[in-house]
Every structure is written in C-alpha cells, then in structure tokens.
C-alpha cells in the first residue's frame, strides 16, 4: 500500500531532482524553446515542498491535488497548467483514501496523463512531455522501475521528432535532433517516483 507519506516523499524527491537538473533542462530548452524550463520548474517544485510542509494534507489524493494547484499558481508558461493538471487530476482520481494500492495509483496516474493530453491537445509523437508520460503510465501498471525506464526511453525518443506543439513547433524541421525539455522533466518526475518506491519498505518497485 502507498500512504500519504509516500506521496509527500515523491514530491520532495521530484523537487530535489528538478533542482539538480535545472541547468540541463534550461540548456535543452534554449535549443528549441526559450531557456526557462529549468528555472520555472525549480520555482514551482520548491513552492510545492513548502506548501506540503505548511498545510500537511492528510491523504495521498490531497497531497497531489495540493501540489498540482501550487504548480498552477507558481510556474506559469505551459508547464505550469500541464504539470499542475497531471498532479491535480491524478490526486482527484485517488479520492479520499488514507492509503492506495499500486494498481489504484497506476489508474489514477493514467487519468492524470489523459487530462494533460486533453488540455494541451497533443498526442504521442508530437515531441512533448506526453512522449515520456504515456509509456510511463502504461508501464506503471506493472512496476515503478519499468515506468521510470519507459519514461527515460520516451524522452530520448523525442530527439528525432519534429515538434508539433508548443514553442518548439515554430522551428519546424529545425526542432529535429534535440531532446524535448518537457519530456525530459517528465522522465525526472517518474524517476523520482521509482526512487521513492525503491526506498520504501513493503513497496515492490
């Protein structure tokens, strides 16, 4: 079972990971975007850890809903509403239970990813965060480690793609040959999830 603390630790791990990789994310973003992805997510996730500490939400669903709302309120850009929606919708799908099963969470996460697709209007292959999130959601039904691997592979697979959504799409063919910063940060988020599972007794990563 996954408890409230598990989700809080996932958000803390994600914040640390974004903090560590911020410069690399910004570097990727300057190739095909506008050089702010790292700093924007850094601001957002540090606000998330702050509010989780302050408000101490009591259920897994409440942790993710609050984290998502905080990202929407602090990140801006496209990544704010998109990551915010991912966590908020996942949290809402978890309901009010004190603990959730891995299967429940995998289903909720898939609902969150679907909401991201709906909001941004993107599909697999458009060179966006969905290219990491969709395979991760699928693999999450089996294992956390598998989801992390699928997300990583999905991010790398964006390199030869031509962007069809977001700011990188303005570049047309010039967007080919660069890894998508959004897919890269999405992989970080899923990797943080797998690392949290590995560090948790009684959870099969």
């Amino acid at each position: 079972m996954l408890d409230t603390d598990f989700f809080r630790r996932w958000m803390t791990a994600a914040a640390a990971s974004v903090e560590r990789e911020a410069n690399d994310l910004t570097e990727l973003d300057s190739a095909i975007g506008d050089a702010d992805h790292g700093s924007n997510l850094q601001r957002g996730f540090s606000a998330v850890t702050e509010v989780l500490e302050k408000d101490a939400p009591a259920t897994p669903g409440a942790v993710l809903t609050l984290a998502g709302r905080q990202l929407i309120s602090t990140v801006g850009g496209a990544s704010g509403p998109l990551y915010g929606t991912l966590l908020r919708r996942t949290g809402k799908a978890l309901g009010d239970d004190d603990e959730v099963t891995q299967t429940q969470f995998a289903q909720a996460f898939a609902a969150g990813v679907a909401a991201v697709g709906q909001l941004g209007g993107a599909q697999a292959g458009d060179k966006t965060m969905l290219d990491a999130l969709l395979p991760a959601a699928e693999a999450l039904a089996t294992s956390f480690e598998g989801a992390a691997e699928a997300a990583r592979a999905g991010a790398v697979a964006t390199v030869p793609m031509q962007a069809r959504k977001g700011r990188a799409s303005y570049l047309g063919e010039r967007s080919i040959g660069h890894q998508d910063p959004g897919a890269t940060s999405a992989a970080l988020l899923v990797e943080a999830l797998a690392a949290t599972a590995t560090a948790t007794d009684g959870v099969d990563a």
């Binding site: 050089a35 929407i72 309120s73 496209a78 941004g120 303005y170």
Partner: protein, 330 residues
C-alpha cells in the same frame, strides 16, 4: 553578459517597484504581480486585462491607462503569468460590465488565461477572450501551435481600449478586438540573440554576418538564417511576407518595432524602407508608429506589423490615450 540587475530572481519584482515609483497613476501590486489603473474599476466600462511573460516592455504594463488597458499581469521573464494574477486583475477592474482578456497566442499564455477565465467566471466576472496571432513567419497549421502573437497586440489593446472607454459593451469590444487581430500581420528579424537573466548567456548562437528571419519575441530561433542583408532588403522581405498574407485593399497602420537593442536611428532608416516598399506595392499608410514597443530583452532586430483599417478603426486608433509608453490626444 553584463546586466543592470541585482540578482536574476528579482528582476520582475524590481521592475515593478520601479514602475510604481515612476507612475503614481497606477496601482502596482508587486507581490501578486498586477499593474492596474488607479481609478479602476471605471463605472460602466468594460475592463481590458492583458499579460504575458516579462521581457517585452513596455508591453503590457506600459499600456495600462485611460484609452488602453485596465490592468496588466507580468509573468516571469518570457513565461506566461499564472491564473491567480488574471483572476485578481479581473476582480480589480470589473465594474460589472465584464472583462476582455487580450492573450498572445503561445501555449502557456492560452492555457493560463483559459484557466483564469474559468476561475473569474466562478467569481461572477463575465469574461471574453481575444487571442492575438499575427506572426506570418509561423505557418498556421495543425503541425504548429499556430501563429504567434506579436506586434498586433499593441493595435488590439489600443483600439479595443478606446472602444471600451466609449462605453461599448463586452461583446462589441471583443468583436472589434478580433477584427483588429484578423486585419493585422507581423514579421520579425533578429540581428543578434537574446540573453535572459536566468541563463546569462545568449539563447542561440548567431554568427557575425548572419541574420535570423521570422523570429518570435522570446529568443526562440527563427525559421531561416541568411547572410546579413541591408535595411532595404530586410524591408522588402518582411513587408512582402506580410502583404502576401494580408492582401490589404485599403490603408494600413504600420508599426515599425525595435526588439530592444536596435537604435532608433536605424529603426527610422528602416521605416523609410518599409514606406518605400508599401508605396511600390500601392498600399497607403494611414498612421505610422516607430519605436521599441514589443521587445525581446536585449535582442537586436526589428519587426513590422501592418493592420488594415477602416474609418472606424482609424478613429479609435486616433482616440486619446494616456499610458506610460503611448500617449496622445490628451
């Protein structure tokens, strides 16, 4: 890269404190990042709220005042504002006549304004939106995020602002704002890259002797790179790209806009070339505005925006305006 800043993290807040110090006629909420007319809400008047990433000054805060915007919501540098800002701005300027959001067509801006519109309506504010997408350098297809909003934003904010000041209802202000956007096209070029405070080094590498054609206003590279051209050649390229798409059948407003690091001396020279091309193509110019209005931090370069106008739009363009960056007739 040397910059006139304290630390990158506070550039937006620092600038807002500076705007507050320079413009007592505005209320500047530094913490929540809303710049509004001090006299808002004006009874019976539709509110006009815009916003977007910082780094394009004077857009948008420089256009807050009688005859133009009611409030502006500056985001982080090149990052759209968050919904909370627009909700707060809408509540501050709504007189009960409703609020028009002027949104530049970037994925982030569109998503955040959409969320804000929903939240504001939950709070009882009637909201309409106009999405500005005038940049002909981006092909408008399902394979891109659509055309970017650039120079036409100024035309939309000025003309819709004038109409709102006359007491027109929300649906009429929104319709005219959309009409202005539909009648406007832009094209921009960069002679140098842009440096954001967060990154501290240029966002792309533009060798001496080359220029980027079809750039946006966020340091994103353009569609095409060519050997450096003269001012006249650039005017030919930019104006022709616009006219191919706009095909005006009457007079136009012309905005010859600097991207931030190009001297006015060069901009005026470029304006002469823009007028030459328009005259050769038989397009009469009703009014011209030359200056740095929709900028991209320290980018060298320029953009041209043309808007076809009828008598009514021209009358609204000429109406009095009193803002930090645009003021006439009062």
């Amino acid at each position: 890269m040397k910059m006139l800043i304290n630390v990158p993290e506070t550039v937006v807040a620092d600038a807002l404190r500076g705007i507050a110090a320079a413009h007592p006629e505005l209320t500047v909420d530094v913490e929540n990042r809303v710049v509004a007319r001090r006299d808002a809400p004006v009874a019976g008047k539709v509110g006009l709220v815009s916003g977007g990433g910082s780094g394009h000054e004077p857009l948008h805060a420089g256009f807050v005042g009688p005859g133009m915007l009611s409030a502006a919501c500056p985001g982080e540098v090149f990052t759209s504002p968050v919904p909370d800002q627009m909700v707060r701005a809408a509540a501050a300027v709504d007189s009960g006549a409703g609020v028009l959001f002027v949104v530049k067509n970037y994925t982030g801006d569109v998503l955040n304004f959409e969320m804000a519109a929903e939240l504001a309506e939950d709070e009882g504010v009637q909201v309409a939106q106009v999405v500005v997408d005038d940049d002909v350098a981006v092909s408008d297809s399902t394979f891109t995020a659509g055309r970017r909003g650039t120079g036409a934003t100024l035309f939309v904010e000025k003309i819709a602002g004038a109409l709102a000041d006359e007491g027109a209802p929300l649906d009429r202000v929104a319709a005219v704002a959309r009409q202005v956007n539909g009648a406007s096209r832009s094209f921009g070029v960069a002679l140098g890259a842009v440096t954001t405070p967060a990154k501290g080094s240029p966002t792309f590498d533009l060798p001496a002797g080359e220029l980027e054609l079809g750039i946006g206003i966020h340091g994103e590279p353009g569609r095409e790179r060519r050997p450096m051209m003269t001012s006249g050649e650039i005017a030919d390229f930019a104006v022709n790209a616009i006219l191919e798409d706009l095909r005006p059948t009457g007079p136009v407003l012309a905005l010859v806009n600097g991207m931030g690091a190009t001297p006015l001396l060069e901009l005026y020279g470029f304006n002469a070339e823009v007028h030459r091309v328009l005259s050769q193509r038989g397009v009469p110019v009703a009014r011209t505005l030359v200056g740095n209005y929709v900028t991209s931090l320290d980018m060298a370069g320029c953009s041209v925006t043309l808007c076809q106008v009828d008598e009514e739009l021209l009358r609204l363009w000429d109406a009095p305006v009193r803002t930090a960056a645009l003021r006439w007739g009062c």
